[in-house]
């Protein structure tokens, strides 16, 4: 009798173990990934937030408690305000212009014309090259004396523009050069996404419209654009996020400085400078959080608008 009892008890224990294993074993497999996530993503983020609210934080580790001093300082700082307005100017020129150009080019590339494969490759080349390396070659394109861009302008009778130089009050052409380069840099990725969006539009819609007498303009605005709208919004969100973080597009032109007269100062530049050059980790962290909140707000806004375009 006793034997039977212990046997029963044992088997129940085993069963309990089995259920325990079934329930918790999956988490075991998650541990390596979760560890990576915690160490390399969550911990730094938490740390940035803590740094941003610590007052007078130094690498030495002394601080006087928590507060909003870092934010107050950053928001009142002229460099930061300058960075903010430059970044906004960059985002709200580069993203819309790149989007419109990408729609037009994707539409052209989507036509069935012989030799299109060569054009397609050419357009996607920038995507597989580093933007800093490409930026270096654009430095020559923008060159005032021997640059291709000024040469082309001269063909149209336009005087040489000092794209990267320090001429004029606050060198206004510097940011224009960055914007042109930013647009060019953004195009390939955007075109690829839009092209796949275009290829998902059923050609029967165009046939139907053509039988009813629609011209190509009508088809573009009443069929292509609305049906492409979800993809357009997707690329705009992604591009806007990356444009707010503009930095790589600037350093090749002035050997690491933000413009010929420190006039193309951007948010990420400010963060980097506070962090590395000035050793003000609290200010850097506060600026990073402000940048995050701005991006977050615009992303939410776009998602909200996008909802109207789901069919």
């Amino acid at each position: 009798m006793a034997d039977v009892k212990t046997a029963k008890k044992k088997s129940r224990d085993e069963q309990g173990n089995y259920i325990f294993n079934r329930r918790f074993e999956p988490f075991g497999y998650l541990i390596p990934f979760a560890l990576g996530l915690i160490v390399f993503t969550i911990y730094p983020i938490v740390n940035v937030v803590i740094m941003a609210f610590k007052e007078k934080y130094r690498l030495s580790g002394r601080y006087d408690g928590f507060g909003l001093y870092n934010f107050e300082y950053v928001l009142a700082n002229d460099d930061f305000r300058n960075a903010l307005s430059n970044t906004f100017l960059y985002v709200f020129t580069v993203v819309p212009i790149a989007t419109v150009l990408a729609i037009l080019i994707a539409n052209l590339l989507n036509q069935k014309i012989r030799g299109m494969a060569i054009f397609q490759t050419a357009y996607f080349l920038p995507m597989v090259t580093s933007s800093i390396a490409v930026g270096l070659s654009w430095r020559y394109i923008f060159n005032t004396q021997v640059g291709v861009l000024n040469w082309i302008l001269s063909v149209f009778g336009i005087n040489a523009v000092d794209w990267l130089g320090a001429s004029g009050a606050r060198a206004p052409w510097n940011i224009v050069a960055v914007i042109i380069f930013g647009i060019w840099n953004m195009l390939p990725f955007t075109i690829i996404l839009l092209l796949s969006g275009l290829q998902n539009i059923d050609p029967m819609y165009y046939t139907a419209a053509r039988v009813d007498g629609a011209g190509s303009r009508m088809m573009f605005f009443r069929i292509t654009v609305p049906l492409l709208a979800p993809t357009i919004f997707l690329t705009m969100i992604i591009n806007m996020i990356s444009a707010f973080k503009v930095y790589n597009e600037i350093i090749p032109f002035w050997s690491g400085r933000p413009g010929a007269m420190n006039n193309v100062y951007t948010m990420v530049y400010f963060i980097k400078e506070q962090f590395y050059s000035k050793d003000r980790l609290g200010f850097a962290a506060a600026a990073a959080i402000i940048l995050f909140l701005i991006i977050f707000a615009f992303t939410m806004l776009q998602r909200f608008v996008q909802r109207r375009f789901r069919y």
Partner: protein, 354 residues
């Protein structure tokens, strides 16, 4: 509008999809283009709409040669197999779109669109997007969109193939109602013979790009020009019995059964291999000893008001109807008369009617 096609041919490379068609589509009538999958129905329709260029031959709308005319100038309304409704527009916008293209003022075109919506009974759904409509509703919207510009010719490419059985029945009546109401010349593509038989004024039956026969549905059924036509129409399908002509009578291939039929021509080609087509309803049980042929009952299935019986004619099998009060059991022989309709002889090799 009267449509005439003259030596109309379409080739894709070496492949001939539509081969030398000559025929008329009558003004104000509903004509079906009927045939198995891949026989060139859509190709034909697309040439009429102008979407596909013609390889050879001509298309006339009334007296005008429209062969090279671009689709938008032809004044045709087209309903696609999967409707092609614009997913980002509401029902009302979809219906009004052909007028929007023509730059008709907004209030006027919306007025007209509502009128069309009423005609096809979707006037309660005007603000919905196509994604929120059932298949039948989408089809009505597609028809309204095709009709709004008052086309001279309405073309429908298998408009019912996406619907379930009950809705198909309902919608084919609906198409007929709308067609009669508007009086528009309509060409309707289908591979379903019952659909074509039930609502069309005329059926154009095609196979492998070749016109087989064009006629009113009943004519086509009662007087098929070849074996393909006879086999394509009718449910249950017509019985095919293989045999030869001997002494002006049909003898099954194993010589087991001889059929003499009063309507056979007097000089059938002696010794020719033939196929005898008998529609199931053309054989009726004989109450006395007179008969056209005898078969052995193999099995019987009730179909409600009557029974379907399988008969053995030698080594071949045919289907006939029996009334339920007829008592013979499977295994017994039964005598049958043949009616004057529904019995045809075809040449075995060419399939042509003899």
């Amino acid at each position: 509008m009267h449509v005439r096609i003259d030596h109309l041919t379409k080739r894709f490379g070496d492949f001939t999809a539509v081969d030398d068609f000559n025929m008329d589509f009558d003004d104000g009538k509903l004509t079906a283009l009927l045939g198995p999958s891949g026989c060139g129905k859509s190709t034909m329709l697309n040439m009429l709409s102008g979407i596909l260029p013609v390889t050879e031959g001509h298309i006339y709308f009334d007296e005008d040669d429209v062969t090279g005319m671009p689709p938008q100038d032809r004044g045709v309304g087209l309903v696609f197999q999967n409707y092609a409704l614009y997913p980002h527009m509401t029902v009302l916008e979809n219906i009004a779109f052909p007028l929007e293209i023509k730059k008709v003022p907004k209030t006027e075109r919306l007025e007209k669109a509502k009128e069309m919506a009423k005609l096809v009974h979707v006037d309660t759904l005007l603000d919905r997007r196509p994604g929120a409509l059932s298949g039948g509703q989408q089809q009505r919207v597609a028809i309204a969109r095709a009709l709004i510009k008052e086309p001279r010719l309405l073309l429908l490419d298998e408009p019912l193939s996406n619907l379930d059985a009950r809705l198909r029945l309902e919608m084919r009546e609906e198409i007929r109602r709308i067609q009669l109401r508007t009086g528009v010349t309509t060409i309707f593509v289908t591979h379903d013979q019952e659909e074509a038989m039930s609502i069309c004024d005329k059926i154009v039956l095609m196979k492998d790009g070749i016109l087989q026969q064009e006629d009113a549905p009943q004519e086509l059924y009662d007087d098929p020009h070849n074996l393909f036509v006879a086999n394509f129409l009718g449910n249950p399908p017509i019985n095919n019995i293989e045999g030869v002509i001997r002494d002006n009578a049909f003898v099954t291939r194993d010589s087991a059964v001889t059929i003499r039929y009063r309507n056979f021509s007097k000089d059938l080609p002696e010794g020719r291999e033939v196929i005898l087509g008998i529609r199931a309803e053309a054989a009726i049980i004989s109450r006395d000893e007179t008969h056209d042929f005898t078969g052995r009952i193999k099995s019987r299935y009730t179909m409600g008001k009557e029974e379907l019986a399988f008969l053995n004619l030698g080594d071949q099998e045919i289907r006939v109807y029996l009334s339920t009060e007829y008592e013979d059991k499977p295994g017994e022989d039964a005598n049958f008369h043949l009616r004057s309709k529904g019995v045809f002889l075809f040449d075995k090799e060419t399939g042509e009617r003899i």
